[in-house]
């Protein structure tokens, strides 16, 4: 069954709810007009019938609405595009074992928040021992060497440090998205790495943050984008898959 519709209290009823603000007054005799305006917007969005169940004035110039209604759109799950996980999920023990056997040295990960972004929540959730969602962070993995540069690291600083540490992978977190700063910063970062490394020796570039789209990796010039809700275990498994399993024993230069 690949066709579904929203479910309110009965299969196929198509019921949805939404809330929004309109810059119009609903004080006194304006209230009918305001509710009508909200119903019109809902109708144009495809709600039929649309029920304006709540309209509240916010000051003299704005009104907040809650609307319930039926939509007639059908969702075809066969046409949904997602980035499937294309690597096996490993436990920390399995990750450590794979690295020890396949790489015969510790795998080095350099992480940072770049640009003006001061929000280390994301990178810390992945890297700090404390971890996230009940999983320990990458610092917990014996075979991973983690260098967390923290916040507001410039791209040249990041490249320099990645070279100094002989990083196998670089993790960048971007939370602030005003004026699409996360996109611009990520592109700047990936371009800088491309410029200063021959392509065969470039570290794996990974970017993550709540507003990234996982399908954007190529556009951003990175190897992988992780969206909100990614756990440290997923990142560790991905690193192992890319840098150990797939590359095989090719990269065993000098043990660090």
């Amino acid at each position: 069954m690949s066709i579904v519709r929203p479910y309110g209290d009965t299969t196929g009823d198509g019921m949805v709810q939404l809330s929004f603000t309109l810059p119009i007054s609903s004080v006194g005799d304006q209230s009918k007009l305001a509710e009508g305006a909200a119903a019109q917007l809902a109708a144009k969005m495809g709600l039929d019938p649309a029920l304006v169940v709540h309209a509240k004035p916010m000051g003299p110039d704005f009104t907040f609405f809650v609307v319930y209604g039926r939509v007639h759109h059908l969702v075809d799950t066969d046409q949904v595009q997602v980035v499937e996980r294309d690597y096996p999920l490993l436990t920390p023990k399995e990750v450590n074992l794979a690295i020890r056997k396949g790489l015969r040295r510790r795998l080095t990960v350099v992480g940072a928040c770049i640009g003006s972004d001061a929000h280390t929540v994301g990178i810390d959730a992945i890297l700090n021992i404390k971890g996230f969602a009940g999983e320990k962070g990458l610092e917990y993995y014996r075979e991973l060497k983690v260098v967390n540069l923290g916040a507001q690291v410039s791209v040249p600083q990041l490249v320099e440090r990645a070279r100094a540490e002989k990083a196998d992978a670089v993790l960048v977190s971007q939370v602030v998205t005003q004026r699409d700063a996360h996109i611009a910063n990520t592109r700047e970062m990936s371009a800088a790495f491309r410029e200063s490394y021959p392509s065969s020796r470039r570290p794996l570039l990974i970017v993550g943050g709540p507003r990234f789209d996982e399908t954007m990796a190529e556009q951003l010039g990175v190897d992988r984008v992780f969206a909100r809700g990614t756990t440290p275990g997923e990142v560790a498994s991905y690193l192992t898959d890319q840098l150990v399993t797939r590359r095989g024993p090719a990269r065993q230069e000098v043990p660090a």
Partner: protein, 535 residues
């Protein structure tokens, strides 16, 4: 007057006064060497703040402030370690320029040579600088009296806690109407969040600004514009609406001075935040902290400390005692700098994982512990952020419990939580719903705090005692701490170097802004410090 604490006739947790005294004296022992360290050093920002108090404003064509230009020129000629006042006012007394601003312009093109005056020249430079900086401090005093007058005329909020709302558009001209609207909707305090990254600028931008990232630059002109807008609101609403900004980062002393000159009412000002979360050098931070707190003390500004931040990286249950320890340290540093109890908006937050059994009881225990340890301080109560998931409905429920905990435990300043935390910057409707939430809880709970007396041996009282005991253990460990990090020495600096707070390791010889620190030479002179410490 500042947010008053609800009078508690007898304490609810029945904390052992001997234990509480022990905690305070341990904090004092940990803090004293830091104060000595601060007294032995100066920084570029302390010296620039002195120039700002003396009235030097404006920037060159590239937007670099004249205080930076002048300081750099002086530092190039005679170094930083003697303080900026003697060489600068010596040049003025010698007639190199008619005023500070002309002197700065001439100095920046290299047409003035600075020297360290001696003998009668020294005396003259000393008294000229003291006179001019003293006039600046008298302006700060006048702004404080002006605040007192306005508060008397318009009045304070008639409820507890005071409601604190944030605006953050990046454009000061957009911020002003938003702030006025927020005040109309019930905000008692408006905080203008700073642009991301300002904390790492080693200069204060100039003029009104319309471009910021996730916030608006702190500038003297932006301070003035926003204070004037809120003065209008105070008049319209018949209550004095307070304004908050951030004295943090590399320019903390200068921003404190500007806040005093422009009558800001509260300032975020944490003793360790910059070290831990912005990787600013610990010595730089502690020196800048002390000066900025002396200015805040003089200006009648309420500081807000940043303990809530530890709980965004560390677990709120496991690390509860690090909040208490930081509050005790912040209290010690604040009082040493001359701040009074009513000026200590010590921070803490509602950040326990809602999945933890009895999480609300734990929150009450922690909040009540802060309340009873600092009975006269207007505590700053911060909403959940870490466990806000994007499920706005659940977030709204969490915020209601946060509000209830605030009412029950007599918090002084309540930062209003937004259900869209972690989703978007707050929408107009988010703020309206959030304020409805606060008003409902305030109205429904009424004076419930009066009836709320946790059982003396119950879960809450025991948990509070446990956190206090862990705090004492940590303070003892800090006292005895020998660091493995180079150059840290024993004590608090070593503990910071080893990641005791917020799990971040910050060695004393690392971090940003270290090159702006100098050990004071014999004969160091700063009229601002002398006047601030004289009273």
């Amino acid at each position: 007057m500042p947010p008053q604490t609800s009078p508690t006739t007898r304490t609810k947790l029945d904390l052992d006064p001997v234990t509480v005294r022990k905690a305070r004296s341990l904090a004092q022992e940990a803090g004293r060497p830091i104060v000595e360290l601060a007294q032995q050093h100066t920084t570029v920002s302390v010296e620039r703040a002195t120039l700002r108090l003396a009235g030097l404003q404006g920037a060159d064509a590239d937007g670099i402030p004249w205080v930076n230009r002048l300081l750099d020129a002086v530092r190039g000629d005679v170094g930083l370690e003697h303080g900026i006042a003697l060489p600068v006012w010596d040049a003025l007394v010698r007639g190199e320029a008619e005023d500070l601003s002309t002197l700065a312009q001439k100095a920046s093109v290299g047409s003035v040579r600075f020297r360290l005056p001696e003998g009668r020249d020294l005396t003259r430079a000393r008294s000229a600088s003291a006179k001019q900086v003293g006039a600046g401090l008298r302006r700060v005093d006048a702004r404080r009296r002006e605040r007192d007058r306005l508060v008397k005329r318009f009045g304070d909020p008639d409820h507890q806690p005071w409601i604190y709302l944030i605006v953050a558009t990046g454009d000061i001209y957009e911020d002003m109407p938003q702030a006025q609207q927020a005040a109309r909707e019930g905000a008692d305090i408006i905080a203008v969040i700073r642009s991301t990254g300002q904390s790492l600028l080693d200069y204060v931008p100039e003029g009104p600004t319309r471009e910021g990232f996730a916030g608006t630059y702190a500038t003297q002109e932006n301070f003035r514009l926003m204070r004037a807008a809120l003065d209008e609101s105070s008049k319209e609403l018949g209550r004095y609406v307070r304004l908050t900004n951030y004295a943090s980062g590399l320019c903390m002393p200068e921003i404190a001075a500007l806040a005093g000159l422009e009558r800001l009412d509260m300032m975020l000002n944490d003793s360790m935040y910059g070290i831990l979360f912005r990787d600013i050098n610990p010595v730089r931070t502690f020196v800048d902290q002390r000066f900025s707190r002396q200015v805040h003390a003089r200006a009648g500004i309420v500081i807000n400390t940043g303990e809530d931040n530890y709980l965004t990286t560390a677990d709120a249950v496991e690390a509860a005692h690090t909040v208490t320890v930081s509050q005790l340290l912040n209290e010690y540093f604040a009082k040493e700098a001359g701040l009074e109890d009513w000026q200590l908006g010590l921070g803490h937050a509602f950040e326990i994982d809602p999945e933890v059994p009895d999480s609300f009881r734990l929150e009450l225990a922690h909040a009540l512990l802060a309340r009873e340890l600092f009975p006269e301080a207007p505590l700053k109560w911060m909403p959940p952020t870490r466990h806000m998931t994007g499920d706005v409905f659940r977030g709204y429920l969490l915020d209601a419990f946060f509000n209830l905990a605030g009412m029950l435990t007599g918090q002084g300043i309540l930062l209003v939580g937004m259900m869209t935390e972690a989703v978007v910057t707050p929408w107009l409707s988010d703020r309206d719903l959030a304020l409805q939430n606060v008003r409902y809880v305030m109205n429904a709970a009424g004076n419930l705090a009066e009836d709320f007396h946790p059982s003396p041996d119950g879960f809450i009282a025991q948990r509070a005692r446990q956190v206090l005991a862990e705090s004492i253990e940590l303070l003892e460990r800090i006292h005895a701490h020998e660091s493995t990090a180079p150059g840290a020495g024993p004590g608090l600096l070593a503990a910071i170097a080893d990641g005791t707070f917020g799990l971040m390791k910050r060695p004393a010889d690392g971090g940003r802004g270290l090159d702006g620190v100098a050990r004071k030479a014999p004969g160091y002179f700063n009229p601002a410090t002398d006047l601030l410490e004289a009273k």
